[in-house]
Amino acid sequence: MRDYTRAVFAIIAKDATVEWRTKTAFLSAMVFAVLVLSILFFARDPTAVSSLDIAPGALWVTFTFAAMLGLNRAFLLERENGAMDGLLLTPVPRSAIFVGKMGGNLLFVALVELISIPLFVMFYNVSLAARLPQLIAVTAMATVAFVAVGTLLSAMVVRTRFAELMLPVLLLPFLIPPVVAAVQITARVLAERPLSEMMGWFKLLAAFDIVFCVLSVLLFEVTLDE
């Protein structure tokens, strides 16, 4: 078990180091997130729709699109110079490789979100102070949901033609439940509704997380070449 955790963290550290030395993907995801947040602000009739009405949707569209950029890159990195073969040759369980890659993606997306949320608060003029724990909970749960499926699909699509196009086409249907749930919860958080009104959606998110994390870990091995 200790070896397993060590392998997972080694892979996360590897991905973080590669990213830290170039920062290209992170910076582009960040710039992209700022752009989407600000463009969506203007995607409404300001005399009829208040910015608060579109805020939850804008936040989650931003998160999903920015995450997609990171996910696309996750296994592209391993394709160059046969790095994936190197990873597979190491004496660690295949699932540890998946969990490590997923951890790296989670770190990436979480950082983008961490920087986007203050910007979101500023741009859309929302007050979060008392509601921060709930927003963090929903962000964490929804992010785990789409990073789990996204990492698995990313591992497959890099070995197809048109990889960059294929990931959104395949991934977006899987994002419908977590993103709809996240938007619904965020809207209620911003409207300061009681927790009981969000429980249904929280349960849905939790169930989605469990089912798809387990499935992704199990199915990862199938995607690898024998």
Partner: protein, 233 residues
Amino acid sequence: MTRRDKALGLARTGQIVTLVALLALAGVFVRALMFTPMDRLQGLAQKILYMHAPAAITALMAYAVCGILSIIYLGLRDRRLDRAAAASAEVGVVFSVMLLITGPLWGKPVWGTWWTWDARLTSTLFIFLLFVGYLIMRDAVIDPDQRARFSSVIGVLGLALVPFIHLTVYLFRTLHPDPMLIKPSAPAMPGVMLATMLSSIGVFGLLYVGFVVQRYALADLQELRNEEMMRDS
């Protein structure tokens, strides 16, 4: 008998089944238009349902077959299962297109709107999109074994996704009841209409079988040709 002859024989069988199904479909049309009474409230528009509902049932069944075959493929790793799953998904997509075209045509006169984000409609659309993605991905993978593995992963994930999508659109609806939604609770059908509907469902099932068998045989022949080309080069 060579593999090629077998595939050609299968394709022939599929053609015959399809032909029979198409003739029967014509019969269903005649019965629906001439010998089934007009609906008092919906009028002529109701006749669309004799195509719409069977297409819906067949499409969902086709996707379920694809998902189940994908699971079995992961266990047995027999490429015939993958071919059958793909054939089923492709035919499911065709029936879904039929469903998504006839739906709005019926909805406009009866509901007063082409489209509504009703739970069943929405989940059908999303599941359709998922399987379109499945087919697009199959085209983007060249190696047949890899394609089979990747497809089965999507098939299994898709099977797990369907209940979640359904739950999502259901929760969305019940929390925000839409007053514009004027879908009446389905009235129990009179016997004559029910008979037409059931025969139509049967015919669509037959059509599904005919299409899938042909598509399966075609995929087999394609693969055979690819293997021959590989050997020659």
